[in-house]
Subunit: 216 residues, 2 copies
């Protein structure tokens, strides 16, 4: 679903507003390319920011982890949270330090978590596996009831999500274009290396196509 | 300076404590490899998590940005913050979804910011440039007083920093080692691509060695 959505007062991007977007297709594209997010929550007045895996299904972003995690316990209790995803695209090398910056695409989701229970939990955990490695779930056993019970899954609505995208070449002061310093962009990208077999892997098992051909 | 340091009650790692470290050399190595951090702060009870560049000098981590940034204004006012750096090293492909995970190195810094003023500001801003592109400062003009005035620099002590490192092959349930599913690690790494010259670059300026040979 693509729709232009109006930001709430608190989800409205404050700095450099011309880089902001609020439409669902921009949000989804960034979340679907992400491997991890950073989760912000408050415990006794102190903010904490913890990295964890993220997956999206329809209009929600999901995180998961151990049932005994302090973070997840605070989130399922309804405490306010912020989920941020950042894809780093490049270093913007301007002709001055002041105008140098980064190219990136980020999503900031505000809201409170909602605990996922019952059959939905299985669906979401499979989505995490498929998000990171499409084709993997068909190759492994199903999660066991004990494993499902040990895992907490929390979802966040994308209603209060905002996108910020910084792209393109540097923008320099007029007088700096006379500079003899090189200027441009150094692209950055998270890339996969050669799969490293577990030392305990049976020697007859080759790297499956869904791993060797995995897009990164 | 390398020293084993004891964590404070709130900076002690909660989950999977055997992955935790608190020594300064582990902290420094991760911060010095990082391009961005995620800054957590609280505004009217709502946590926010915002990505920004990070640089380290000695016993402090530094962030910077526009003087009018809400985040920086809250931080220089002494509000509690959390600065998190995450280096993603791989996808751990276990024989079950439950034991699959990520390899990563992360630093979580708790504390309050301290505004950097005077001559120190120049030194820190140069450190940001050199952190991302060693050799760059010699090639560009110095920051102007107006630019320095428009920039806020904030530093955080590393006294309440903790490290978490997850590495190595999957750890599976005993019975799962009989599985015929492939298992291992897909390494991940942030890599630089070919530098893209600014369309407005004078054609006589080649890519300098400090950029073409930049380590990533």
């Amino acid at each position: 679903m693509t729709r232009p959505s109006a930001p709430s007062a608190r989800s409205k991007v404050r700095r450099v507003r011309e880089l902001a977007r609020y439409d669902r297709s921009s949000i989804n594209a960034i979340l679907d390319e992400a491997t991890v997010c950073h989760v912000g929550f408050v415990d006794d007045g102190q903010p904490f920011v913890i990295p964890t895996a993220i997956a999206r299904i329809d209009d929600h972003a999901y995180i998961h982890g151990s049932r005994v995690s302090r973070m997840l316990q605070l989130l399922v209790a309804g405490n306010p949270a912020c989920i941020t995803v950042t894809l780093l695209d490049g270093i913007v090398v301007a002709r001055s330090a002041f105008n140098s910056s980064m190219n990136y695409r980020s999503v900031v989701i505000l809201g409170s978590g909602e605990k996922v229970i019952g059959e939905d939990k299985k669906i979401v955990l499979d989505a995490f596996t498929e998000h990171l490695i499409p084709g993997r779930t068909a190759d492994i056993r199903a999660s066991r009831p004990k494993e499902l019970a040990a895992t907490t899954v929390v979802r966040f609505s994308l209603d209060e999500a905002s996108v910020k995208i910084s792209e393109g070449p540097p923008s320099d002061e007029k007088s700096d274009y006379e500079s003899d310093a090189w200027a441009g962009v150094i692209p950055l990208r998270l890339k996969s290396g050669k799969p490293q077999p577990d030392p305990r892997l049976k020697s007859s098992i080759p790297v499956p196509t869904y791993i060797s051909k995995r897009k990164t």
